[in-house]
Symmetry: D2
Subunit: 425 residues, 4 copies
């Protein structure tokens, strides 16, 4: 069957060359990213469990986790968590399967809570911080789960596969929703800078440069005007490692210098950096600074939800097309809100990689229709922003071919996601 | 102080004239819209309470409501709700104020629950449906609230206003976050069509055409290719008002005809309409149809969250710039994630209205910096897509003037939002 | 089969003639009684539902309701509920039955919440109070339910009935636990007085004497020494109906007089009455009085649990044998913690009624053994405290006969309980 | 001030010599005992925290913990926990203190959750069981806490101390409730047997006799008739350590023999023992046995609440006077529901110890009046069941003296309880 793929010419100035650009990334410790991370980890655990037990991924949709902030009292040199953050994993998942020879029950709620703790442990456990503060993010955060059995219709839909295409050898899992996915490539210099800067602060800054007073809750916002890029960085500082306001200001200054150096490596553009702009640097009062016990703002009131942060490419880009879909936590078998966002990015990236400098921008949008096979989108739109119309004509057929190829192979995407090889936030 | 407003030329084919367009709207009864509606109603109630008690809106941020779907068993002619949906209102709000002469305590949690019930009552209470089914959405849904006292820092920030600009007569509330808002105008024909179609199904279809078997949970998705617009509509049907699969198919057919007529009124484009595409119309089994007791999918497993649905203009538009911010539930005093999204749309609309056919498209993005006055964004970007460069030059100064004027008057926006005159989803 | 019934002589001074006696009753509005009432109402609704749908009462055990107090601020003439009380119905109940011809799903959680609201409505709804205060106990209290499917073993046990006594025509439902029930009769004068006094304050005091400023949360404690009975009464007063501390003291004085008169009707003993002993009557501060918005202490921090208040005869009697079992909420089919407590009281009452003045006291204890038929207790102990040993010998055989008769007819008890003809707290 | 102490003669056959006796003990792993244990541990942690921070125990009442059972699937040789048990700590506690020089905030909710985990760890952590089953009771059970700030009135009452007795040098903390405590001594042989038997099964049976397939959830029920004592024991078995039904039956047989031997050590009475009476020993199906993954019935549906199990002496004794008060979790400063029950037992024990064989039984009941000093009960009743009236007369004055002494020194009881030297369940 022929796929409905439209490749059109995007006749405009590329975003990278426009006058203005805005780009944001919420780091791994931001409450919204944490909610995404927990939801995705839970989904992957479920997939693994289902595959181990019955040989295939069963229906689930656990894309509703909530991170509800606690209460803390951070002071220079220490402080305490008064009320631990509360994480609630929500969604639905099949908790029982009837196979020809047996009835399998799945420990869904147990898995939810364990997976969450493992995730917290893997990403935020810092043994020395635990001994300094007496508070362990991995152990002392409250984790609960309410997981339903999923909507009757969706389950039905999920199962209907085999019935509808009995004689057809190609993929035919039906889409579980009428929804779309969006992707683009390549990243602009500003986008790369934002992405890399967060990775740098949550990586080398701590491990290589030893600035361990910086927490994991990092947000990087860039606004570019012409050739000048202004970075506004929010980074939760760790109170037990900062003895005074003066030391805090010193840590911020060090972080500033490191980021400035890193930016100079990454770009030739002029870079302005502001860190923790809400601080009142004239004050000695700890509450006038971005000070935390754990390095995470969720300890003191900041909430987070799945799907409210980064898109599947790790960025929030209001000068780029975006989808509202939360990819994290959705099942990677029939949920187009997840599959199509990832696939749209893969298609765009592949085209951009092959075309190199001839294609400035690729934008891909995939629209599903509930009940139709996921490899046959209602519409696949590919837009190429090229040097000139000739370049568009040259790349148009290849772009279509690439889109077609990725759609043809959409089944393999499930496996990549289950194995954690595809980022979704 | 001069505002940092950049008006630039958007030299491209307008979206309306592009080859492809995708537009979505989640109606008032969609779980995500319900979460938005509840969060916003709660915020407005809080504002009113604060103003009544202490004369000003105090800090709150209640943008984390969760709608956790129930379990139901719908059959033709009836059925039952097995497990009621569960609504959890989350966030933070000041619950105590110390004024010079007294200490005021605010009934925040009580207000949360009451406001939610009022909202359900106002939008979904159908007395005859209650008597048909025995289930009242307004009364029988479980509503709970967990509302913290807000993060220390944010509260601090909120209060810092007066201290920083004591001698300055202009507005100086500081932004509570580094964030941005996005808006555009005018709507394309497809966008208008999607918006109107949902309003039609949740309005005249029921009241004027008497098709009361259609529920309030409606989603409209449009994909336009060239001049052809395909509408995929999902509309939960009400089981007590549909006696059989045949009658169901008949209701869908009637709805189809009404929508087709309505579309013809709204546009000259060729329109294709598909309703409830996942139905298996060959079946007599109620579970093969989009059948509900209440007309709301949340009764059977569909969850919803704030900020995952429509943007402040009521649409999801992947061919347009969008913000990830959840506007609903945020306080309308310092929360730029709300104020800037609304304002960006107002600025864009005003420019588009004045410029008429000379400006095809206006895109506005406003970037805040935490701690800086909200009327002085770090950057205000206005892009004009015009017939030609001359038109851009003509409208550039006026666009800047309009943006400046709206920013100057941003204080009045709070009042409009509190009074419910501004939609946010 | 012969039942293991032991009738023995209780050779002692009866409680009524002892030097000292302590008796307590928690009224219908006390948080513990409310928890009992909600649990029992829920169980009865379940029974009715099961009988209607499948013709028999299925397994459930919903004896774990929690009443978690709210926060309020009562002042003379008014006040407000800041945080509504929170009721959580807990337990387990079969939510699905497979019958030969179909699969029935039971709306357990929906039923829980509805039944709770109905109960609140029936017992505490006062329309004029709602209009005075703006707070409705029936509507504004938060009600949630977490109901599991019950332990595997117990369910098994429940079903095993038919298998074990296939050829036996008599009742053979097996006990679900090794547990005991306790009962005694007749009530002493002090016991009757305490019981009647609470009923009076929650009855005639309000309806006949018009003292509507008295709330439903009433606790009556009696200590008798010799012929003198001291009653300590706690009665939550309703703030909107009391304009000042003086008026409060006046209401208490009126209540005192009414209770004194009532006591004189009920007994010739000397009666001392103290009401709301913690009040600081020298103060004008409302927080120095037992003042509430709703007439229920649960509005401001008082919690309640099933099984912590009155025994099945409506009293707490430390000079009498008691069982620790919570009767409320337990299923009335196999749960001996409920059935045996009720039955023990019925047996004792019947013996006492027949014997009249010849038997001073009857004490009955029934011990079950998990898995054995409920009509065949491991041990039925009946103790008779009689004028003399001759009286004991006269009544011993009849007492045994009565006990045997009640055990023989234990099946009919289920029906009485389901119909609400048997009080359990 | 003279205390109102009444010592009266209990002219009856002592319980130990009566025809029938019933005694029960719920072991440490029983859900009700677990709820008690968690509540008491939480209270003790709070006391320690308050003392450390402000030098005195502040108001709290955390006697409402709930243990909500999970779901498991135990099979011989293994199985899995499907849904982890859920523990909810409820109650109220002061979370902020204003001292002359500072404002202290207490991490109440954090403390609740940590204390619960510590308690689970201390009493139920079995490393080898965790490695066998993959499930850790200490880590994988869900623990949450909802702790309010306590009722306004009670807090007031708590603070009022100093004001009321400014010139009086003696103890004068006011009672927080009108309530009573009950105690008796000495224990009968049956009572001792029940107590020791549970301690044996949860002690030597595992550590000395190596019967590690027996779990910690143990309940012992005794019914004595004449000289014959029947023990009905329920003991959850651990599935990973029992390979088959035959092995299960063998473990039960071993346990039976050990208990029989132990009983012979403890008593000369004839002893009958039945273990896990609901088992269907003809079956090979694991669901026909009392089989668990963790040795705790709460893993599969058995719920527990504070105050529903053992009285402060560790027993449930329907042939003895009992109080309905939950002692566990109540504050040990003003809460008579706790203090008076413990004290009544201490008084009874002291009298019984001194009097030896001259006094068969001592029964003590203490009645408080809300607002009155805790060392001045409204009534203290001591009953002595003696060989003859002469013995009563001899011991009456000393009994009064002892009661008076314990009441005089009631302040020291608080300290004993905080240090964990007094059992309360």
């Amino acid at each position: 069957m022929k796929r409905n793929i439209v490749v059109s010419w995007l006749d405009r100035v590329p975003v990278a060359m426009g006058e203005v650009e805005l780009v944001e990334r919420k780091g791994i410790g931001h409450p919204d990213s944490l909610a995404d991370g927990l939801a995705e980890a839970f989904s992957r655990s479920l997939c693994q469990l289902y595959v181990d037990e019955v040989g295939e991924v069963l229906h689930h949709n656990v894309d509703q986790s909530e991170v509800s902030g606690g209460q803390s009292e951070a002071v220079f040199g220490g402080g305490k968590v008064l009320e631990p953050p509360y994480i609630l994993l929500l969604g639905r998942a099949v908790d029982e399967a009837i196979t020809p020879d047996r009835r399998v029950r799945f420990p869904v709620r147990d898995l939810a809570v364990r997976t969450a703790r493992s995730y917290l442990w893997e990403h935020f456990h810092d043994p020395s911080l635990v001994s300094e503060t007496g508070f362990s993010v991995a152990e002392d955060v409250i984790v609960d789960a309410k997981v339903g059995k999923g909507s009757q219709d969706l389950i039905q839909n999920f199962r209907r596969t085999a019935q509808r295409c009995p004689t057809d050898h190609r993929t035919c899992r039906p889409a579980n929703d009428t929804s779309f996915g969006v992707g683009f490539a390549p990243l602009t210099e500003t986008e790369q800078l934002v992405y890399e800067m967060e990775r740098f602060i949550n990586g080398d800054v701590k491990t290589k440069h030893g600035l361990t007073a910086t927490g994991c809750d990092v947000k990087v916002m860039a606004s570019r005007r012409g050739k000048k890029i202004d970075l506004t960085i929010a980074c939760a500082m760790i109170s037990s490692r900062i003895a005074s306001a003066a030391e805090y200001r010193n840590v911020v200054a060090q972080l500033h210098d490191l980021c400035q150096e890193k930016a100079a490596e990454l770009t030739d553009s002029e870079i302005g950096i502001v860190i923790n702009h809400a601080d009142n640097t004239a004050s000695e009062d700890p509450s006038d600074y971005y000070l935390t016990i754990t390095g995470l703002s969720l300890e003191n009131g900041d909430d987070g939800s799945v799907g409210r942060g980064n898109r599947v490419n790790g960025l929030i880009t209001p000068f780029r097309p975006m989808s509202m879909e939360a990819a994290a936590g959705k099942n990677p078998v029939t949920h187009v809100g997840k599959l199509y966002n990832v696939l749209a990015n893969q298609i765009a990236t592949q085209i951009a990689d092959e075309a190199g400098s001839e294609v400035f921008e690729v934008q891909v949008r995939l629209l599903s229709q509930i009940g139709s096979p996921i490899d046959l989108p209602a519409l696949a739109s590919v837009e190429l922003c090229t040097r000139d119309e000739a370049a568009f004509r040259r790349w148009q057929p290849r772009a279509k071919e690439i889109a077609d190829g990725f759609l043809e192979g959409i089944e393999s995407l499930t496996d990549q996601i289950v194995k954690g090889r595809v980022g979704v936030f």
